[in-house]
């Protein structure tokens, strides 16, 4: 009896293990095939356009008769908007995290955190129109020359969207800092502010940095807001008041147009896609590396 029972458990275990393994395999396969497709199309793109031109040309105009294939303007547009977004989200997100974990009463924290997380749940198309119809007209009062489509409003709204990535994850990290360290800090005669910024934040720093990098990855890949509000004009500029285009917005532009399958215009999507992929991949590795490095230090 007992033997059969044990045998059944062993068989069941085996089955479950196989099933879970299969699920894992499926995700790996999906990722892998995405990379393969990206690579295949990108390789045939780079057959026609040399990599050096792709990386150094300062113009991007594959859809015009005078074709240029420099990714830099798209890269710059992406960085500009992400930069604005981080400049909004980092100070706000971190202040919120510190406030919630070090100052706010726990009841308040429990109620406010899910509300904050709602910010990330708003559909991005709503954010896009919010940027276009609310933020831009408002900013135009401050900067009269600002165009209707611009990097600034898209960046600001994207910043608002990614606040919860930073605030929520950083707050988790801060809250998980042992109370014995807070006691030590207060016991030494630290003020609340000193305790927060000299002890708790540094202790949680690797997780905080990881949250910021996650937020950056999210901003880099964000598509809808920039497509709607930023203008779709590839431009090599750091001026946030004029229209720009990001890598993602370009991909949308081409995908939703009617470029012939297999043409060079079509293949630019994959070239742009792989550029974005490599970039986010590097960023994720950076976050992993920072985590590891800080972990060793602590």
């Amino acid at each position: 009896m007992a033997l059969i029972f044990i045998f059944n458990i062993v068989k069941k275990e085996f089955f479950i293990r196989q099933l879970l393994g299969l699920c894992a395999l499926l995700t790996v396969l999906t990722t892998f095939s995405i990379i393969v497709i990206l690579l295949v199309e990108a390789i045939s793109f780079f057959d026609k356009v040399p990599m050096s031109q792709f990386l150094t040309d300062t113009k991007w105009s594959p859809l015009f008769t005078n074709k240029h294939f420099g990714i830099l303007p798209l890269f710059m547009g992406t960085m500009l908007i992400t930069g604005v977004a981080i400049m909004i989200a980092l100070p706000l997100g971190l202040s919120i995290a510190v406030y919630l974990s070090e100052y706010a009463p726990s009841g308040f924290k429990k109620r406010i955190k899910p509300l904050l997380e709602l910010l990330a749940a708003v559909p991005t198309v709503v954010y896009g129109f919010f940027a276009l119809t609310v933020i831009t007209p408002f900013l135009q009062k401050i900067f009269p020359g600002m165009s209707g489509f611009n990097a600034l409003s898209a960046g600001i709204v994207m910043g608002i969207m990614i606040i919860p990535f930073i605030s929520s994850l950083s707050e988790d990290a801060l809250s998980s800092v042992s109370n014995s360290l807070r006691e030590a800090a207060y016991g030494m005669g630290s003020t609340r502010f000193q305790t927060a910024f000299k002890v708790t934040v540094p202790t949680a720093s690797s997780a905080i940095i990881a949250s910021v990098i996650l937020a950056i990855s999210r901003a880099l890949g964000e598509t809808m807001i920039v497509t709607i509000a930023a203008g779709m004009q590839p431009r090599m500029t750091l001026n946030p008041l004029v229209p720009v285009e990001t890598i993602t917005a370009y991909i949308v532009q081409v995908s939703s147009g009617d470029v012939p399958y297999g043409s060079i215009e079509y293949q630019t999507i994959f070239a742009a896609g792989i550029a974005l992929f490599v970039f986010t991949f590097l960023l994720n590795n950076l976050s992993w590396w920072i985590k590891k490095r800080f972990m060793v230090k602590i």
């Binding site: 207060y186 630290s190 003020t191």
Partner: protein, 277 residues
């Protein structure tokens, strides 16, 4: 430093140890507690406690678990203030000043009254930065001043020889006993008047414990030390006076030798001989 009115107040207290041979002649009172009752919500964790703690000696607090030793110890640096429903009545004085009066700057108080905790809790920073922490938050950032004070504190904490070549290494890489001595050094670096210790050796092995006991014996010449301990041999070995608490009451407070060998109260007798608790 003891004002005349203050001296009168001491006379009112319940248990004032008679002048005994072991006592230094003109020993001052560092901390005095008068009629203190402390509550967590409706629960009174300490009842009408009065006692005075002398300067430059070690005072032990003993008693069974939950009798209020930590609550009592944490009165002196107002660490209980962080507990939202905590209340206290009566007076607690440090060098004659009521530390619960409205005018008191709690942050400053905690610089005068340092604390070492049960579990070693160094910051996840280098050994140097741990010891320099208290100086840095006072705005001292001059490198040579910091180096001098850190070295001095580490020497006082009997740790300098262990760590003088690895000051930049994380304090968390040290052994438990060394970590606890980092915490002691961190506390000494700001030159507090009083050091509170809540079971500082209960998480340590016997050798580290012995080293810290030797250390405490040296430190008492410069600091007033109040220590909570579950280890009665430890209390007997290191302290000059001992207070026995039982369910929120101060049962007996006298010279350590007397308390352990010839206590007035039966409950003390039972506890120190291991009959309960």
């Amino acid at each position: 430093m003891v004002s005349s009115t203050f001296a009168m107040e001491i006379n009112l207290m319940k248990r004032i140890p008679d002048s005994l041979e072991t006592q230094k002649p003109q020993q001052k009172i560092a901390l005095s507690v008068y009629d203190v009752t402390a509550w967590y919500g409706d629960f009174a964790a300490l009842h009408n406690i009065s006692m005075s703690i002398k300067e430059n000696q070690i005072t032990s607090l003993i008693g069974p678990s939950g009798c209020g030793k930590s609550t009592f110890l944490r009165l002196f640096n107002r660490m209980n203030d962080f507990i939202s429903d905590f209340r206290v009545s009566g007076t607690v004085k440090l060098n004659g000043k009521n530390i619960y009066s409205k005018a008191v700057d709690v942050v400053q108080l905690r610089k005068d009254v340092g604390m070492v905790f049960q579990k070693p809790n160094p910051f996840p920073k280098s050994i140097f930065e741990n010891v320099a922490y208290g100086l840095r938050i006072q705005g001292i950032n001059n490198k040579s001043v910091l180096e001098e004070k850190v070295e001095q504190a580490l020497k006082q904490a009997d740790l300098w020889n262990d760590v003088k070549d690895i000051l930049k290494r994380s304090a968390l890489a040290l052994s438990g006993g060394q970590q606890q001595r980092v915490c002691i050094a961190r506390c000494l670096a700001v030159e507090p008047k009083v050091i509170l210790m809540d079971e500082p050796t209960s998480a340590l092995d016997p050798i580290s414990t012995a080293r810290i006991e030797v250390l405490l014996n040296e430190l008492k010449d410069r600091y007033t030390i109040v220590i909570v301990t579950h280890n009665m041999q430890q209390a007997a070995r290191i302290s000059q006076q001992t207070a026995f608490f039982y369910i929120g009451d101060l049962i007996e407070f006298s010279d350590t030798e007397k308390l352990f060998t010839n206590p007035e109260e039966e409950r003390t007798q039972n506890y120190v001989t291991g009959r309960f608790g």
